[in-house]
């Protein structure tokens, strides 16, 4: 009974279980969890692990939708479970079904092997390659240049887009939306000195031209980013690399000029 005397509403949480050392194929375990207004799906998983079955395995860290650890496939969609209220995901049968991110090898239960995710990320050289000729005071960016980045720098690398991508499902050679979003960020960054090489790298057959514009990455992104638009931009730039490079050189010259005192 709750404090006001009413019976607590219980929700069935179905958790996909799989231990590759023991199980032949994944199966579901069902747990009953009390529904409270503020309870998130991650809270429900904690409750299951602490009070019902300590062997349930999942990744989590910050609980503030920043670290990207807790992306899971809930009721048919990749989401961060730490900032999703349990009540928002209850289906018509009063159930919430939690699975690991699709198309990635399962390590145990809800924990997946993200090796391919990070390998592809590394492929695009996500770090900044700065100019040797650093301006005296600061690099400058116009508000238009910042707006063109479309908040790409707020990606938390949760893997929701990567594992929602149908091309990744078929072919792990594809660079993937997460890495291409980072490449987009670097290519449009006026401080970066290697946009042409980056465009050559992502313009190969495993890069931007492998995307089929299915939009699953946009649908899955918990930060409302637009990897598809970033891929489209990279496609256009990859096809006119030389013109882009010339424009970049002019921009770089302007950046390195002394800042006019106002």
């Amino acid at each position: 009974m709750t404090t006001n005397g009413s019976r607590p509403r219980m929700v069935t949480v179905r958790v996909q279980r799989f231990n590759p050392d023991v199980d032949e194929k994944p199966y579901f375990d069902e747990f009953q969890v009390e529904l409270t207004p503020a309870k998130t799906i991650l809270d429900a998983l904690h409750e299951i692990k602490t009070a019902q079955d300590g062997s349930v395995t999942y990744r989590r860290s910050c609980r503030h939708a920043i670290c990207g650890s807790c992306a899971m496939y809930v009721n048919g969609k990749n989401i961060l479970v730490c900032n999703t209220p349990l009540r928002d995901k209850i289906d018509e049968e009063g159930t919430v079904t939690i699975r690991p991110l699709p198309y990635l090898p399962i390590i145990k239960d809800l924990v997946v092997d993200r090796s391919s995710f990070w390998e592809q990320y590394e492929r695009v050289k996500p770090w900044l390659i700065p100019s040797a000729d650093v301006p005296e005071k600061e690099f400058r960016m116009s508000s238009e240049e910042v707006a063109a980045l479309n908040k790409a720098e707020t990606c938390i690398m949760c893997g929701a887009c990567y594992s929602a991508c149908q091309v990744i499902a078929m072919n792990k050679r594809y660079v993937g939306p997460h890495a291409l979003l980072k490449a987009f960020l670097r290519v449009l960054d006026p401080r970066d000195m290697a946009p042409s090489e980056r465009l050559a790298d992502v313009g190969d057959q495993d890069g931007v031209f492998r995307c089929h514009t299915i939009f699953n990455c946009i649908d899955a992104c918990p930060k409302d980013l637009d990897p598809t638009k970033a891929i489209e931009t990279l496609r256009k730039l990859a096809q006119k690399r030389q013109a882009f490079e010339a424009a970049r050189r002019d921009r770089q010259r302007m950046l390195n000029e002394p800042i006019a005192s106002s």
Partner: protein
């Protein structure tokens, strides 16, 4: 990138040719009958349009099929063979189709 460009350029061409095709063949603004169709198919300009249409249809279909097939990792290693097969199918289908269109003569 070349496959992507071929498919996009052929898609733009198909927009034009499909519009012409739909208007002329399926929804003509005039009465359509056998005599008109035969007469049109015998004109060199329409033969050229139909051959160009065939060219872009084949280019679009084969580049699209190639792109979909190499999405499968198991076929990825056979890219060269797939390009060869696509080129062969293109040549055979285009020559056969173009010859058929060009050879048509309306009955006297």
């Amino acid at each position: 990138m070349r496959i992507f460009q071929m498919q996009r350029y052929s898609a733009i061409a198909l927009l034009v040719f499909l519009t012409i095709h739909m208007i002329v063949v399926h929804y003509p603004p005039f009465h359509v009958d056998f005599t008109r169709i035969i007469e049109r198919m015998g004109q060199p300009l329409w033969k050229a349009i139909d051959i160009a249409f065939l060219f872009f249809v084949l280019m679009h279909a084969l580049t699209g099929t190639y792109a979909v097939i190499i999405d499968w990792e198991r076929f990825y290693a056979y890219r060269r063979e797939l390009v060869g097969a696509a080129a062969l199918i293109f040549i055979l289908a285009f020559v056969y189709g173009a010859r058929t269109i060009w050879a048509f003569q309306p009955p006297a």
